[in-house]
Symmetry: C2
Subunit: 406 residues, 2 copies
């Protein structure tokens, strides 16, 4: 069993770097604070006797050698960059749970057959630099190193320059690092476990997602003198599409999701009928066929709305990730470890993307969820219970040992 | 008959002050450009032999003496401040049409019984300083001089300081200026005249309006991991209220109006369920009882939505103007002048507020509308036909002469 107090203490220590007044953390990727966070974690890994490899996109692999160094490592990891108003646990927990596994192996003097590695991936959050999940994405070849290097923040600083500046541009070619199996522990970022009062979420898969930009163009006009029948009100037409997004998701329970999160109205003046409304659509499902059906139904509704209203409506898909089922061996290892340890458990499909979906393209992968308070993350009030974090880390230890062999 | 070319030339000359690249005008109240515009118009008035009075809120009264100086003046006017992306005609037309009336009287050597005055009112648009229709509002006692003086722009500059700075803080106490009757010519700012192919709109009344701020508070949460059934999506709930605003207006044709023009979503992020949505509601009707019915129906719908959704919804009325019927004598004078001149005509209820609604609290008042292209105003592409502007000015001349007596 791991040491829950030591894990908690490390989480609180790391959370001091970039701590916000409201109890959260702001430690954006490749900032000075990210460097301080990286240095702290790397220092702890060295104290635990681990060796460090950094690749060209700044992914850091911290290795505890196995009896058979030629076996590919059993890896765990996550990220330590945060949202601008992020919490202490998102990502950080996955990295420090891995470190706690190694510390526990050291305490117990356990030697594994395969090496054990703990990774932290660069810029998972995507808050400062797009694309999101950048380090793991480059690692698995989802996009190129050049694309990632060229990404700039709002001040025009590039990933390449910032990586060099903080001293985390390594030499290893991304992806040229073997992985035997990959596990990631993470707070759920949703309310399902808490709602069902379970401690461990076994994650069979991550939902696929489609992101769209929709623009409805009407005609801006004065709210007083323009009769109702002569209006081309872009906001009104938008509301029908916005409602349909939710209706479509509700037609495909339990894993359909539909969200309009971002809305911009032009000219956005109290007494002007909106001439243009731009909004985002986020559709998700764990089943790619159903996700595609949702996509088709949305396009059909937009066609219908276009001809009913006479307004111009454009719709563009800006992102797509297919659903990612995890490997039966890894999911099985998590399930068995949970059963062996006697934790209450249920399957929780991940609604959010994680580095694990990219790792899963190269090796068997699986995830372990623990509850977070009110299902809230990406928020300074993000919170999780020490007991739950300890339980998730114990499951990680057992699952990794099962794969790494003692 | 007035000189349409001279009127047009003056409009184009004034429009040079603050001209924008797209053919509009940006001449915000009490700026250096407003001073230049005021100086130009005052200069023209002096050339036309008029005397000038400025009151303490910067309203300017330009007077052509009558045979009987003790009679209250027959007044016309409007404003020369513009929207940030305004046009050449909104307000400016009403002021320069008045000047053209005086020039015509001079050309024809006509002496009226009552004096004739042309006014321009300070800060009608309300773009730089709130409240809107400030000069005429202070003049009629709708709010105090102190309230107006204290109003600040986004840079913290006050009306009082800016008035003094541009040299238009006069000595006359606002409202201590007699008015015998008041006429205002204005572009329609709506599509009704153009749609019906009529030249002159006789304005029997201005609609009353109610403005509201509505805030729907849900719970922000991650768009992926949060099941549809556990959401408190503030945007979705808002869409039902937004649609009801239009449905209510449609239940009270032909003068019901309902508009949601301004929408702000928090945190406004693609993969976050909106936790709070704030939006404006603009309800109008020419009948105060119907406007009140619309108000009640909206409140009832919001109550129902609050209990159906379980979300917190606040609604606050931020402005209210009752409908303003114009005086039968002035409306009649406009109608008769139009008939005498042989212009095609129809009644057009004004959907927008004008300085005339405040003048109407102190004296008989009436308005004359002319078509504007596509009904568009508050926009750099605002446009009107020289012929129509000339026609409106001829109607103004005849209506004023009828009231001022020759
Ligand atoms: N974990 C996480 O918030 N990923 C961002 C991409 C998503 O919206 O799923
Ligand atoms: N004329 C005009 O645009 N007035 C502003 C107030 C309103 O919305 O009616």
């Amino acid at each position: 069993r791991i040491n829950g107090e030591r894990l908690w203490a490390s989480l609180m220590e790391l959370a001091k770097i970039g701590a916000t007044p409201k109890g959260g953390v702001k430690r954006l990727a490749l900032t000075d604070l990210d460097k301080q966070g990286r240095d702290l974690v790397v220092g702890w890994a060295k104290e635990a006797g681990m060796s460090i490899t950094v690749d060209q996109i700044g992914n850091v692999f911290m290795r505890r050698e196995g009896r058979n160094p030629s076996l590919p490592p059993i890896m765990t990891g996550s990220h330590i960059d945060t949202q601008p108003t992020g919490g202490k646990f998102d990502g950080n927990y996955g990295v420090l749970a891995g470190l706690e596994v190694v510390r526990t192996l050291n305490d117990q003097d356990i030697t594994t057959e395969a090496p054990v590695e703990v990774a932290f991936w660069t810029n998972e959050e995507g808050s400062r630099f797009v694309p999101v999940m950048m380090g793991s994405g480059v690692f698995c070849g989802a996009f190129s190193l050049e694309t990632a290097y060229a990404a700039k923040d709002t001040e025009g600083k590039s990933v390449k320059d910032e990586l060099a500046r903080i001293g985390y541009m390594g030499e290893q070619v991304p992806g040229q690092h073997p992985i035997g199996a990959y596990f990631e522990t993470h707070i759920e970022q949703g309310p399902v476990l808490e709602d069902a009062d379970k401690v461990i979420g076994v994650v069979p898969a991550v939902m696929g997602l489609s992101w769209y930009d929709c623009v409805v163009t009407g005609m801006e006009a004065h709210a007083g003198p323009t009769p109702m029948g002569l209006r081309k009100d872009a906001m009104q037409v938008s509301t029908y599409i916005m409602q349909e997004v939710v209706k479509i998701a509700n037609r495909y329970p339990p894993y359909g999701r539909g969200t309009v999160g971002m809305v911009q109205v032009f000219p956005n003046s109290r007494n002007v009928i909106p001439g243009e409304v731009k909004f985002s659509i986020d559709l998700r499902n764990v089943n790619d066929e159903l996700l595609n059906t949702m996509h088709e139904e949305m396009l059909a509704f937009i066609d219908k709305t276009r001809s009913d209203s006479g307004l111009a409506i454009s719709i563009e898909r800006v992102s797509y990730y297919p659903p990612c089922p995890f490997h039966p061996d890894c999911v099985g290892a998590v399930r068995e470890a949970t059963a062996r340890l006697g934790y209450s458990t249920m399957d929780v499909v991940s609604g959010a993307g994680h580095d694990a979906i990219y790792a899963a393209r190269l090796a068997p992968a699986g995830m372990i969820f623990v509850p977070c308070k009110d299902g809230i993350s990406h928020n300074e009030i993000e919170d999780a219970k020490s007991d739950h974090l300890e339980a998730g880390c114990n499951v990680l230890l057992h699952a990794m040992l099962e794969r790494a062999k003692v």
